[in-house]
């Protein structure tokens, strides 16, 4: 099975940003995304999903390294200052490189 390397970018942030982020990610060249509801704790305190303002989402994007870095740079610039948000990269292998 021929596998190719891609990056998996995982973002955990405020649910309120979902609509905006999804647009941003698409504009920066990702071909898709997957979202799950989440709760958690970080530098900005406990965020535990009871109601929308304190709920988190977890977004995954499989894409090329360039796209992943472009998204990360954009999010850092626009959201890090004011929103609860973390993001991290990992290496993944995919079957259909043209999809990502």
């Amino acid at each position: 099975m021929p596998l190719e390397q891609r990056k998996l970018l995982t973002i955990v942030t405020e649910a309120a940003l979902e609509h905006e982020l999804v647009g941003e990610i698409e504009r920066l060249g990702a071909h898709g995304h997957t979202i799950t509801d989440a709760r958690g704790k970080g530098g900005r305190g406990i965020r535990n999903a009871g109601w929308n303002l304190s709920a988190n989402i977890r977004i995954e994007v499989v894409c090329t390294a360039e796209t992943a870095h472009a998204i990360a740079a954009a999010l850092r610039q626009r959201y890090y200052g004011n929103y609860a948000m973390i993001l991290f990269f990992s290496d993944v292998e995919v079957l259909r490189p043209e999809k990502f």
């Binding site: 405020e14 309120a16 940003l17 905006e20 305190g45 999903a49 009871g50 109601w51 929308n52 303002l53 709920a55 959201y79 200052g81 004011n82 929103y83």
Partner: protein, 315 residues
């Protein structure tokens, strides 16, 4: 008869459970569901009554109410900025919260009046809808001035297309079009269960309010004082306006409650996206941790007395 509506006991239960860190929380889906039911119920009720009113007669009242929604945050801002020494964005955001309204508080006031069999103008949900928005616009302007980069579209979308406005306004329209007879088949869900739904909603609000206590402690005394004083002042203004507009005692008490209440659904969502540099913990801990409990436990009976007083004095 107890001093407050038994329904607030559910709030106290939630508050106690939250403070004790009990293993109790309504699933988010249920909280959402209860909110949807409350918003639709209030809208439908208002719409049915609106059908009986000549619309033209309401217009002056509506304008006056919108004006109040603009003035309240303008009055609150300097207090927050200078007496409270809050950053500009924070002061503006909190001002917006207090200029707008809380559906939960309104619902408790309605239950309170019903329990005491005090009549009121049933079209008051219209004012609820009208008061949601102006304060948000004022808040954004206070935070950013007349700035070309202000994401007005985002803010407008958040409010106009947010759950609160869509369901309140939608309910109003449906009630208005369907009329009393058309609404009858759905009364069992939307009207008969109203108080029970409100009770569960208050249980969750108690749990949420308890969660705000921590950040309240961190952010100090000023927010507590403001969270009690602001509704008292705004409530008095609202009562005065209600009397001037010729509302009944019940209607006056409700308008006072609207003025005194602080938003925790529509405004926080809009502010988070349009004034992101404002710290949401500040506005929410004041609105949910102080003002909401204060209003439903002590404020509403007070505004009711105030309304009676004004009507007695004013004739």
């Amino acid at each position: 008869m107890p001093a407050f509506d038994p329904i607030v006991l559910f709030f106290l239960l939630g508050l106690a459970a939250g403070i004790a860190r009990a293993d109790l929380r309504l699933p988010p889906a249920i909280y959402d569901f209860l909110t949807i039911l409350l918003l639709l119920s209030i809208g439908l009720k208002g719409g049915v009554e609106l059908a009986k009113q000549p619309f033209g007669a309401l217009l002056p009242q509506m304008l006056a109410v919108v004006l109040m929604g603009i003035l309240l945050p303008l009055a609150a801002y300097p207090v927050l900025r200078f007496a409270g020494r809050l950053a500009r964005a924070d002061a503006a955001s909190i001002a917006a919260h207090y200029g707008s309204v809380s559906v939960g508080t309104y619902a408790v006031a309605v239950a309170y009046l019903a329990y005491r069999q005090v009549a009121f103008e049933e079209y008051l949900p219209v004012f609820l809808v009208l008061l949601e928005m102006p304060a948000i616009v004022v808040g954004i302007l206070l935070a950013r001035g007349v700035d070309r980069n202000t994401p007005w579209r985002v803010a407008a979308r958040e409010v106009l297309l947010g759950k609160s406005i869509v369901l309140l306004l939608g309910g109003l329209l449906i009630g208005w079009v369907a009329g009393p007879r058309g609404i009858e088949p759905v009364e069992a869900l939307f009207f008969d269960l109203f108080k029970g739904v409100l009770a569960l909603f208050l249980l969750e609000m108690g749990l949420i309010a308890a969660g705000q206590m921590g950040s309240l402690r961190r952010h100090g005394l000023f927010l507590i004082v403001f969270g009690v004083a602001m509704p008292l002042v705004a409530g008095a203004l609202g009562a005065g306006l209600g009397w001037m507009l010729g509302l009944s005692v019940g209607g006056t008490a409700l308008l006072a409650t609207l003025a005194a209440s602080a938003s925790y659904i529509a405004v926080p969502a809009a502010m988070r996206l349009s004034v992101p540099e404002a710290n949401p913990a500040l506005s929410l801990s004041a609105s949910l941790g102080v003002t909401f409990p204060f209003n439903i436990l002590a404020g509403i009976p007070l505004y009711h007395q105030l309304a009676e007083h004004i009507h007695r004095l004013g004739g």
